[in-house]
Structure formats: structure tokens, C-alpha cells
Amino acid sequence: MQTENLKVQSFIARHNSEKRALIAILQDIQAEYNYLPQESLRIVSKSLGIPLIDVVGVATFYRAFSLKPRGKHLVTVCLGTACHVRGGPKILEEFERRLGVKTGETTLDNKFTLETVACLGCCAIGPVVVVDGNYHAHTTIRKVNTILKKYAKEEIKNETH
């Protein structure tokens, strides 16, 4: 954990150990680990002199932060109004069925985490699904399996290499 500590410390240092940068620091940590490890919150609390309860308060208040490790691939289903009227919830249900998890959960093999977002601002091409930063436009129930297969395939490809 020593080297990990150093990494978290470097994120804090990047923001001059300023209290006001708490959210930005947590964003950096999450960008690195995909979630906020408990230990990192303790380090942040100590280094910035902010009580741990307040650090956890911020980490749980904002939707973008996750306190649980996330899977290798992050599937985000947009549930904005435009996506909603075009069938977004049905797409989400199909992902839940295919992956066998509920929203916010990670598959047992740690490959996929399923999340939702309030709006990505791509309303014209809804329903929108984002996987690892790649946008999938006009998603249909039938496309869900194709999308998942694509990422599962990449997985196999990477493993055989």
C-alpha cells in the first residue's frame, strides 16, 4: 500500500493540499482507481485536515463517486427525459437481465459495472449507452447483446495475447 499512498499523496500535492480542492482530488483518485478506496479517503482526510466524516459526506453526496470497486468495463445507460420517452428504461432492464445485476452493481466476474446517468446531453441520438467512454447511439433492446458481446470479445482477445 506504500506506493499507493504515495500516489494519493501526489494527487493531493497536485492541488497544493488545498481544502477547497477536495472534490478535484477525489476525482483524480477515482480516475486512477475507478473508485475511491477507503484508505485513500483516510489519507485525504488527514492530509487536508478535513474530518473523515466530511470527506465521506462529499464522496457519498456526489453521484460520480463510487465507494465500491467497479468492473473492468463501465456501462452507463442514459436515463434523461429524451432517452426515457424513447425507451431508455427498457434498455436498462435488458442490461440488468443480460448481466444479471441491478443498477449500481458489478458482475461477479468483475467485468461489467452497470450504472445510469441523469443525462449526457446527446438527446438527439437517444437512447444512449456509453461503455468505457464510447457512445452507442439509438440503442435498441436487441443491440444490447451486441454491445456486450463486443466488449466481452475484446476481453478474450486481450487474454489470448
Binding site: 477547497r20 453521484r63 427525459t81 429524451a82 446517468v117 443525462c119 467512454g133
Partner: protein, 635 residues
């Protein structure tokens, strides 16, 4: 991009603008303008760009044609699209395969590629030029128009269309005391939702005594269904910066923040780049252009909380705290960020400022209605043919936007409602289509202008479901500070959810109305005060739909899954197997060319069959046997 050299005086800036404008004019190459905002990229515009580049390189045509990669052009339905100059052609839904053709046919042989032209969904007519397309005809693109002219990652491109000329004018010829009356006279009001007069806000901030003053650009575009701020930050970030620098000069602010949603990665990237370039060229920093103006801008990224669009919550978030709103007064103009006087304006508001300075307050105030001046950008989305960002003069009617610009509803379905203002707004029915849009008229009709989301709904949209959607959103996003909002949105959601599931009972609607009123009256911030609007407006205009759910256990639109079942209409079924193959539950029986049947006991009502059927042979029908349970469902 070329190397940026620091500009040290106003004269020098003028010379640079002139030089860049001249350079642009003297470049006689054909220009392929490719839209590559988030939507465009999602539809493959980057691959289109690659294919064009390859074709240009192969033909050694670098001196004949150039590619300009821009942000969003607003016509999202037609993404990725290319505007070609000087031919003045508009190609839509371009595929990477078309790259070579565009170069070979259009650029080299001057031939129009027919298959890439826009086809009007109603008349079937093709349009070769942007100006011929019904989507653009009634628009007045003051703020958004420049998106199609510039590469947002290159400050010189912005300078070459006369960018930063308004700032030059302000610094050269005006005092702060002259800028504020100009903004006041223009009639500009906040584009983020509440519509507070911008000039008045600035005046208050100017008059407050303080050693440090802040200005903030609110780019926490939280309304689901609105994305004009993203489009502006992605496509024309320098316009927003120019507005902010002018604001800083007028108010006397030395530091600024752009608070932008983390969900908009491209917007974050482009505005960050723009700030760095502006700093390098000397438009931000100490003693800007040799004047006394000191001003710099920082980025603060949101972390996914809708309530942070509220100004006091936004300030708390920049300070690194939980985004909970606080009591006003004191207003941020008096006591804001770190207790200092702070002026917060929305992205679109800042984007309007340079236009007002350039064209004059008088000119600007002639656009719009008595109380609402200028243009407003709406995101026209949902069940509409021409989806996209539309910028129209205030006072235009909903009908003009939805039917003339938007091209009406797809699939010959009937218009049912338009939702404006996001979760704080309301749903307006067909009777309101001739309503001229401005801040007051929308409020009177039970909705609000909001940030400009406009979601069109057709006969297949259930209004109870829509109300449930917004309540679910709001109960989720309520920060929890006020009991009325935290518990009220939760209870309203439970009631509407029960109704949608067939468990509604007599008295529910009256209880909803009572609760809605209390939430409205007893909540601290805008989120809670307007949280009842989606419920109240749907109750006002679509009460019969609620009653059908409660009394007849029927969902007229065929959406609420407890009240419907999917069936195959034997007369329409061709036996193509499409639905059978799509069904995840193996709930469909049938052989090829034989009529199919959905086994109701296996069906999970996922809707895959309806989506798969090309012959409209799958329909939703009323579920006959509804179990009515006293007391409703659990959470």
C-alpha cells in the same frame, strides 16, 4: 495550430484580428466543415474526417481543400454533417465510405452527391443548402451560428471571425459604468432558468464593496433533455470567455470560475484548452492587453449532482463541500464564493454578451417580446422528426418550433404534449401550441422557460409515466436538507408509482395536489419550489389520463407495464419470426409464415417484440386481470 505569441496592447489585438480576418478571406481553398461535437463523434464523425483526410492526401489536394473540424451545428438528426464552401452544400448523415466520393465528385468535379442531401420528412423534397432546410429557416442563430464557422480548439479561428472584437471595443471605448447600462438596456435575462435581468445583477455586484469579486459561469447543465450549454462550450468556448472577461471588467471581478459537468468530457476539454490559449495570448492574466484589468478563469468540475445548478449549492461545491443550497438573502452578489461578492450567469447568458456589445443594446432589444429580449436556444428532442438545437427569437410559438422547424412527429402519430423547463417545468398540451414563448407566458401556462429543454411527446407517451419519471429524478436528486422536498418528492413519487401500476385509489389526486402545494411552499431552493410542476401541470392538462389509470386500471398510451400486455394481431402478422427471435424469454410461439402468439405467462413485457416487428403486428393491449391490492406497493 500556430504558435501563440503574447499580445501586449489593444492596438496589437486589433492588428491581430484584422490579420486573421484577412487570412481567412484570402484563403480560397474549398472548406469541408465537419461537425464533431459529442453527438457527431458518437455517430462517427471522426472516422469521416479520417476518410476525407486520406482522400485529400491521396489526391495531393492540400492546396485546394481544407477540413475544418467544428463543434455541433445544432442539427443533431443529420449528424455527422458536412457543410461545403464555397459550394454552399449541406451533406447529412455522412458515412466514412462517402469521403472519397465527396472529394472526387463534389470538390474536383463540382457535382452534388444526391444521396447525401437532406430529405424533408414531410414533403419528401431534397435540400442542397442549409438555408433551404426547414429546420434552419425560422431560426435566428445569433449565439449558436458561429459554431459552424470555427475550430473550437484554435483561438486564431475565433479571432478570424472577429472574435474578441467586443472585448476590444469595451476596453478601448467604454467604462464599466457604460457597459452595465448597455446590458441592462438590451433586456438580456438569465438563460439558465429563472430569467433574472442580467444587467441588474451586474449592477448590484458592481456596487457592492469588496476587495475581491468573483464571477462564475454556470455550466452545470443538469436538466435532462437540455444540452445547449454543452454545445456552446464544445463548439465556441472563446465566445463564453469573451463574455466573461467583459463581465469581469464591468463588475470589477478579478477571478472567475467555469463550473462544468463532469459528464461532458469534450466540453471540459475544449473550455480548458480555450482558457489556456487565452492566457497564453494575454487575454487572461495580469494587466490584460496593457490595461489595468486583471482577471483569470479556473475550471471547477461538477461530480454529478443536479442540485449544484442552484447557485448557492454550486458555490458550496466549488468550495469543496457537499452541494447543499442555503438560505438567500444574502444573495451571492453580496456574499458568495468564500464570502465574497459573486456573480453567476449561465453559459448561454455569457455567450450573448459579446453580441450585445458588438451590435448594440438597441439592436438586440428589437428581437423578442416586451419582457423577453433576444433569442433562446432550445433543445428540441423526444418524439420529433428534426431533433436538434434550435435558436429562435423569443415570442415564437410552440407550433412554429415543433412543426415548422421540428418537422412534426415521426410515424404519423399525434402530438400529445411538450415538456419544457426540465424537472422544474411542466407539460403543455396541444391547446397551448399557439402560445408565444417567453418567460412570463410559459410560467402562466404552468411550466417554465428553464434552461431550454423541449421534449416532444406523442400519443404513445403516458403522462402519468412522465410525472413518475420526473418525481423519481427529483426524489433522487433532492439534497435532503428540507423535509418538505426530501419527503414530499418521495411520497409524491410513491403515489404516482402506485397509480401507474394499477394500485391508485380515489382521493390520490387530491392528496397529490395537497402535497404538491406544500412542497412548493415549504422548500428552500428552486429544486424543491418547482418540484411539483411536473405533477401539477400533468394534472392540470391530462387529469383524464390519471383517472383512466385509477378508475379503469387502464393506461391509454399503452406504456405502464402493469396495465398492458403485448399481443400479436393475427391479421397483420406475416410470420417472419423477427419477434420470436428477439424475445429473451422464449415466450413467442409460431413457425415461419404462420401467425405468432405471445404466451402471456412467460412474457416479461420487455418490449423487444414490439421493437422487432416491422409490420406493426405487435401491439399493447389493456391488461384485463389487474390485481388490486389495498395499500399499494412498497418502495
Amino acid at each position: 495550430m500556430r504558435r501563440i505569441k503574447k499580445i501586449k496592447s489593444l492596438k496589437e489585438l486589433e492588428a491581430v484580428i484584422e490579420k486573421e480576418t484577412e487570412l481567412r478571406k484570402s484563403d480560397t481553398r474549398a472548406v469541408l466543415t465537419v461537425s464533431a461535437g459529442t453527438c457527431g463523434q458518437a455517430r462517427g464523425s471522426l472516422k469521416v474526417i479520417d476518410s476525407l483526410k486520406t482522400a485529400i492526401k491521396k489526391g495531393n489536394l492540400e492546396d485546394k481543400v481544407k477540413i475544418r473540424v467544428t463543434g455541433c451545428h445544432g442539427f443533431c438528426e443529420a449528424e455527422p454533417n458536412i457543410i461545403i464552401h464555397p459550394h454552399d452544400l449541406f451533406y447529412q448523415k455522412v458515412d466514412p465510405k462517402n469521403g472519397k466520393d465527396i472529394i472526387d465528385q463534389t470538390i474536383l468535379k463540382n457535382k452534388v452527391i444526391d444521396s447525401l442531401l437532406f430529405v424533408d420528412p414531410n414533403t419528401g423534397e431534397k435540400a442542397a443548402q442549409e438555408s433551404e432546410i426547414s429546420f434552419y429557416k425560422k431560426q435566428k442563430r445569433l449565439v449558436l451560428g458561429d459554431n459552424a464557422l470555427i475550430d473550437p480548439t484554435d483561438i486564431f479561428d475565433y479571432l478570424s471571425i472577429g472574435g474578441y472584437r467586443s472585448l476590444l471595443k469595451v476596453l478601448e471605448t467604454m467604462t464599466p459604468e457604460e457597459v452595465i447600462p448597455a446590458v441592462k438596456k438590451s433586456g438580456l435575462r438569465g438563460r439558465g432558468g429563472a430569467g433574472f435581468p442580467t444587467g441588474t445583477k451586474w449592477e448590484i455586484a458592481r456596487k457592492v464593496k469588496g476587495d475581491i469579486k468573483y464571477i462564475i459561469c454556470n455550466a452545470d447543465e443538469g436538466d435532462p433533455g437540455a444540452y445547449m450549454d454543452r454545445s456552446l462550450l464544445e463548439g465556441n468556448p472563446h465566445r463564453v470567455l469573451e463574455g466573461m472577461i467583459i463581465g469581469a471588467f464591468a463588475i470589477g471581478a478579478t477571478e472567475g470560475y467555469v463550473y462544468v459537468r463532469d459528464e461532458y468530457p469534450l466540453a471540459v476539454k475544449n473550455i480548458t484548452l480555450a482558457i489556456n490559449q487565452a492566457r497564453k495570448i494575454g487575454l487572461l492574466g495580469k494587466k490584460i492587453l496593457g490595461t489595468k484589468l486583471n482577471f483569470d478563469i479556473h475550471i471547477a468540475k461538477g461530480a454529478g449532482a443536479f442540485v449544484c445548478g442552484e447557485e448557492t449549492a454550486l458555490i458550496a461545491s466549488i468550495e469543496g463541500r457537499v452541494g447543499e443550497p442555503r438560505q438567500r438573502p444574502p444573495f451571492p452578489a453580496i456574499k458568495g464564493l468564500w464570502g465574497k461578492p459573486t456573480t453567476i450567469n449561465n453559459v448561454e447568458t455569457w455567450g450573448n454578451v459579446p453580441i450585445i456589445i458588438q451590435k448594440g443594446a438597441e439592436w438586440y432589444s428589437q428581437i423578442g417580446t416586451d419582457g423577453s429580449k433576444g433569442t433562446k436556444i432550445f433543445s428540441l428532442v423526444g418524439k420529433i422528426n428534426n431533433t436538434g438545437l434550435v435558436e429562435v427569437p423569443m415570442g415564437i410559438t410552440l407550433r412554429e418550433i415543433i412543426f415548422d422547424i421540428g418537422g412534426g412527429i415521426p410515424g404519423e402519430k399525434a402530438f400529445k404534449a411538450v415538456q419544457t423547463g426540465g424537472p422544474s417545468g411542466g407539460c403543455l398540451p396541444a391547446e397551448m401550441l399557439d402560445l408565444p414563448i417567453d418567460y412570463e407566458s410559459l410560467t402562466k401556462a404552468g411550466s417554465i422557460m428553464g434552461s431550454g429543454g423541449m421534449i416532444v411527446m406523442d400519443e404513445k407517451t403516458c403522462m402519468v409515466d412522465v410525472a413518475k419519471y420526473f418525481l423519481n429524478f427529483l426524489r433522487d436528486e433532492s439534497c435532503g436538507k428540507c423535509v418538505s422536498c426530501r419527503e414530499g418528492t418521495q411520497r409524491m413519487w410513491e403515489i404516482v408509482k402506485n397509480i401507474s401500476e394499477g394500485y391508485g385509489k380515489e382521493g390520490d389526486l387530491e392528496l397529490l395536489e395537497e402535497l404538491a402545494k406544500i412542497v412548493k411552499d415549504a422548500s428552500l431552493c428552486g429544486l424543491g419550489q418547482t418540484a411539483s410542476n411536473p405533477v401539477l401541470s400533468t394534472l392540470r392538462y391530462f387529469r383524464d389520463e390519471y383517472e383512466a389509470h385509477i378508475k379503469e386500471k387502464r393506461c391509454p398510451a399503452g406504456v405502464c407495464i402493469n396495465l398492458i400486455r403485448y399481443v400479436v394481431i393475427p391479421e397483420k402478422c406475416t410470420g417472419c419470426l423477427a419477434c420470436k427471435n428477439a424475445c429473451p424469454q422464449d415466450a413467442i410461439r409460431g413457425v415461419i409464415r404462420g401467425v405468432h402468439l405471445i404466451e402471456q405467462n412467460k412474457c416479461i413485457k420487455c418490449g423487444a417484440c414490439l421493437e422487432a416487428c416491422k409490420f406493426e403486428a405487435v401491439e399493447t393491449q389493456r391488461e384485463e386481470a389487474i390485481r388490486i391490492v389495498e395499500g399499494g406497493t412498497e418502495k
